[in-house]
Amino acid sequence: MTWTIARKEILSNLLSYKFFVVLLLMVLLVATSLFIMHRDFNQRMADYQIIRPKPGDPIALVAPNPLAIFAKGLDDAMTRSFEVSITGIEARAGKVSGNIIYSFFPAPDFLYVVRVVLSLVALLFGFDQVSREREQGTLKLLLGGSVSRAKVLLGKWTGNFLSLAVPFLLVTLIASALLMLDPNVHFSGGQLGRLALMLALSLLYLGFFLSLGILVSTMTKKAATSVVVLLFLWSLFVFIIPNLGTLIARQFVSIPSVRALSEKREQTWTREVLLSERGGNWKEGVRTINRENDQMEQDYRLKFERLVRLSRDINRVSPAASFLDASSEIAGTGIGEESRLKEEVVRYKDAVIAQILANWESVKKDRQYPMFTYKPRSLSDIFASGALFDTAWLIFFNILSFALAYVAFIRYDVR
């Protein structure tokens, strides 16, 4: 019986104007997003080719990540060039070409499309599932038979989920396949696996919003009221909580300003320069500057990571934050990956400075430094450091919203 109801839902969706428009919307959005992000990726690859360091240059630079086409995340920050010298690390923007207009209307990446627009579409599929049938009087007829309410609800959920998920997957897979025709965009097997995981997370996320739509529909008498309540919840989950979380976390964890750090760095530098001018050993001075800067950087990172952890924990009240966090980490453009890259850059800087100190007498231009290499975190690392929790959390949200919808539907007065 569940499948019969699901089939009925699919058929009625297929015949509806809503389905046609939603399909068109998905095609337009996913295609536009991937097309624009693909162009952006090619542009950044061209920039990377221009600014990539020559062998022996003490510069840490990573190539743009092709998965950033789907999840931009912090890829711009990660593809900056980190120039190492005895004064420390200087980060420079990786982008050297282009017009400011490109940044004026930021491209919505795939994650944005799913997080903001498709979540709204999922609500649109769910908002009138029960209240509309009640308004039309068909719910009474349906429940007048021997079919259980659980089966009706499950059938409705399955039918609508498939109506949403199948076109979504088809459109995304076709657009991704077209993307792979470009020889500049090379996805490894692992990256394709990551992409599949991101799609699975997207389905979980959309499933939650569909259940939420059905839940609110079972708690309201009119579809119009259900829309208003759902819009409020959508704003709350997608915009309010993620911004509020960071704001609240900042009240509890204070981090020194970037300026304070740079002042301290300058003080250390000036002190050691003065000491060396008064007959001190400059080589030893460089060693001290490096050690003290590392210590300060480490303290900063510890506080910063506390802030990030707390923000992340508060933000997790919203499934949108969990979805974005887990997906961007899986894509390799998340906060964890950026943090790890920074650690590697600091390690690289230590190696470069150690080499400078070891070859102190050699002429600067003759020095050859090791090449910076960066290996992104493995999936098991990513899952262990939070993505597994976020995935489980999304599953929990799905089960909870569906269970609540079930309870509300059992108590629903169909008259």
Partner: protein, 483 residues
């Protein structure tokens, strides 16, 4: 009759929680956005003030300038809460590159910055432009989607129309009532935001002249909301069911807010392709190298052809120079003339390359903006960005500032760093006013009039969209089958 329908619409929207929900959303989202944006601004302002203070200490004299290089900083925009625009991608400083020689300073943008809040990069900025075009636009859809078609479904429209109520009155009353409630919710949110930031001591109005652009920004947002509500009425008057009205509105919103603005950039790139900044830098360095070669060749020719100089050995030359030989003085004068001629030519060539590139960039940006104006969302974003001082006018002004800084350095230092070459020896530069105050770039904020000149088209277009959508809704409602 208008008043009766207007009152009925007001009461209906209040009773079905729409207004309450809109009010709650505005009272939460707008103050939250203002607070987050202003806290960010206060932090960046602090960094800017500290940096400028340190810079004044570090570069007191021309000598300090020569040792440490020159730097000038861009203050953060005080009204970034309206729209962050291109604020985060605009370079935060200009600096000199290498030594300042007699050929002039090389001034470049400094893009070094630290990622201090990864969540902002992940979730995006909650500025007014985003709140209005995303959250409140969806709210407007909720207000409007069943304003007409909902009444038809409930069969109340047929009853109203059965009486002697003119259709224009009904649609005008609906527009007025919905607009009033939306405006009330929006302005309450803005007021709450202003009060909250003032209570926290981070309001933007401590900066002189912030009220006027803020007021213009809020007014433009209000016009946008009205225009979008008119659009909602139009769709509702063209639909046969509430669901199809909702779906159509959602699709139109996606097209207007996401596809048209970003698509305009893609089309502009195709229609008016430009060179990359890197290519331009390469061209400039080729011109510099060629000029250096030309100078060397001219100076060599001069030393080989000038009577009294051509047969002189280096030792003789410097002995004669010490003895103030007029031939040497004439040689130095002639060389200075040659060098200043080449420097003028070099600067003219570099300016020409920069001007050509800036013109190309501006043409591409103008094309993108013109296409983007097909959407009222882009018009609002343009308007808010320019009045906030985070748009193209700021980019243009910052580029001008870079040129101005170069001119100041050239005037105060480079023009006095005259070098003379004889065979393999270069000497000179002794006239530098090393103890004079270091050249500074005075901060010249973009005046409101200039910013308004850049946005009046958008403001007018927003008003036109509003009138157009309402007129179309009116016509559609006149032809609407209420059965």
């Amino acid at each position: 009759m208008f008043r009766i329908i207007y009152k009925k619409e007001l009461l209906e929207n209040i009773q079905n929680y729409r207004f309450l929900m809109a009010l709650v959303i505005c009272l939460v989202v707008i103050p939250l956005g203002f607070t987050v944006s202003q806290k960010d601004y206060v932090d960046r302002r602090q960094v800017y003030d500290d940096t400028v203070r340190d810079d004044a200490e570090l570069r007191k004299t021309v000598q300090d300038f020569l040792v440490n290089g020159g730097m000038a900083f861009r203050p953060p925009a005080a009204l970034g809460l309206l729209s962050s625009g291109v604020e985060m991608v605009l370079p935060n400083a200009v600096e000199t590159r290498g030594f300042v020689s007699e050929e002039g300073a090389q001034v470049q943008f400094n893009n070094s910055r630290r990622l201090d809040n990864p969540f902002t990069s992940l979730f995006g900025r909650l500025d007014l432009a985003f709140i209005v075009t995303t959250v409140l636009a969806v709210l407007v859809m909720i207000f409007a989607f069943n304003a007409v078609v909902g009444e038809k479904e409930r069969r109340t429209l047929a009853q109203v129309m059965a009486n002697a109520v003119p259709r224009p009155v009904v649609i005008a009353a609906k527009m007025a009532a919905g607009g009033t409630l939306l405006a009330a919710a929006f302005l309450s949110g803005v007021l709450a935001g202003v009060l909250l930031t003032t209570a926290l001591g981070i309001d933007p109005f401590r900066e002189a002249g912030a009220w006027a652009p803020f007021g213009i920004g809020v007014g433009a947002s209000l016009v946008f909301l009205m225009a979008f509500y008119g659009f909602g009425l139009l769709v509702s008057s063209l639909s046969r069911s509430s669901v199809s009205a909702m779906v159509t509105l959602l699709s139109c919103w996606v097209a207007l807010a996401m596809i048209v603005p970003k698509g305009s950039v893609v089309v502009a790139k195709l229609v008016r392709p430009i060179k990359s900044q890197q290519v331009v830098e390469l061209e400039k360095s080729q011109v510099r190298r060629q000029t250096e070669r030309d100078i060397d060749a001219s100076v060599a020719k001069l030393s080989q052809t000038m009577p009294g100089i051509k047969d002189m050995s280096s030792d003789d030359y410097f002995k004669q120079r010490k003895a103030k030989n007029p031939v040497i003085e004439a040689y130095e004068k002639e060389q200075a003339r040659l060098r200043s001629e080449f420097t003028a030519r070099l600067n003219a060539d570099l300016d020409r390359i920069d001007a050509a590139f800036d013109a190309e960039r501006a043409a591409q940006a103008a094309a993108a903006r013109t296409i983007a104006r097909l959407s009222p969302v882009s018009c609002l974003v343009n308007a808010l960005t320019e009045v906030a001082g985070t748009g193209f006018a700021e980019d243009e002004s910052w580029r001008e500032a870079r040129s101005r800084y170069k001119q100041i350095i050239d005037r105060d230092i480079a023009s006095k760093a005259q070098m003379t070459q004889f065979k393999d020896f270069s000497y000179g530069g002794g006239n530098l006013p090393r103890k004079a105050p270091a050249p500074k770039l005075p901060a010249v904020p973009v005046p409101l009039e200039k910013r308004m000149a850049a946005v009046w088209v958008d403001l007018v277009l927003l008003a036109i969209y509003g009138i157009l959508f309402f007129a179309a809704a009116y016509v559609a409602f006149l032809r609407y089958d209420v059965r």
